[in-house]
């Protein structure tokens, strides 16, 4: 399946990427599995998305937990904890 991934704030800068379209391998069908998949890129990806690091994930503009299912054409966003107000 294919998803669109958006990155914001510090993660956008660290990854040097605003957004990407990604074809996910079979079996990568939850938020948690997607994060594992991205972590395998190594470097800053492994570091920023590693255990103990604070980040949030939204699917189709709603906050999502690691066990949330992904569907094709989903919009997934990965970002640091929010700091507005």
């Amino acid at each position: 399946m294919k998803v669109r991934i958006l990155y914001f704030a510090r993660l956008r800068e660290t990854f040097g990427l605003n957004a990407e379209h990604l074809q996910l391998p079979d079996g990568v069908n939850t938020v948690g599995a997607l994060i594992d998949h991205l972590r395998q890129r190594g470097g800053v990806w492994a570091e920023e998305l590693g255990p103990g690091r604070a980040f949030r994930v939204a699917v189709n503009q709603d906050m999502a937990a690691a066990d949330a299912a992904l569907s094709t054409n989903d919009e997934v966003a990965i970002f640091p904890p929010v700091t507005g107000g």
Binding site: L6, A9, A58, Q61, A77, P80, V82, T83, G84, G85
Partner: protein
């Protein structure tokens, strides 16, 4: 109920006046300001997630109205570059009585701080840095006992 994300400043008096409809006996408003931390903050920029931001703020208003039963409410949050002393966010709640207006205003701000996708980056003498989320903000939202 109104939600706006904008670069321009807002007019507090106009926003409060717009909420004064039939049955309103109290309007509580909160204005958040870019704090001059005394450590050479020159400016900050606010980034957000267009689309999700509005959805998140609207959801907070719906939840607040279910809980406090107020008549109307407005949230305006600014984005882009802001200098110390500039207003950054407005929450105004119109209700029959002050109790629910005060409480809802605080409830809305507490959840805005922890759920709305905004991020601050500070520019100062020491360079640029992304502001870290505060544990105390999580605690402030958690005290309402919500999800």
């Amino acid at each position: 109920m109104k939600v706006q994300v904008q670069i321009e400043p807002f007019d507090l008096n106009a926003e409060v006046a717009a909420l004064q409809t039939a049955g309103v006996g109290a309007v509580a408003s909160f204005v958040g300001v870019v704090r001059d931390d005394g450590e050479g903050l020159a400016a900050l920029t606010l980034e957000h997630y267009p689309g999700m931001t509005e959805r998140a703020l609207e959801r907070i208003l719906v939840r607040a109205r279910e809980r406090w039963g107020f008549i109307d409410a407005t949230i305006i949050h600014r984005v882009g570059e802001l200098a110390p002393g500039e207003p950054i966010v407005l929450v105004a709640v119109a209700a029959a009585h002050r109790g629910e207006a005060f409480a809802a205003c605080e409830f809305i701000m507490d959840y805005l701080k922890t759920e709305a996708p905004f991020w601050k980056k500070e520019f100062g003498e020491a360079g640029a840095r992304w502001v870290d989320a505060r544990v105390s903000d999580q605690a402030a939202a958690a005290r309402w006992g919500g999800p």
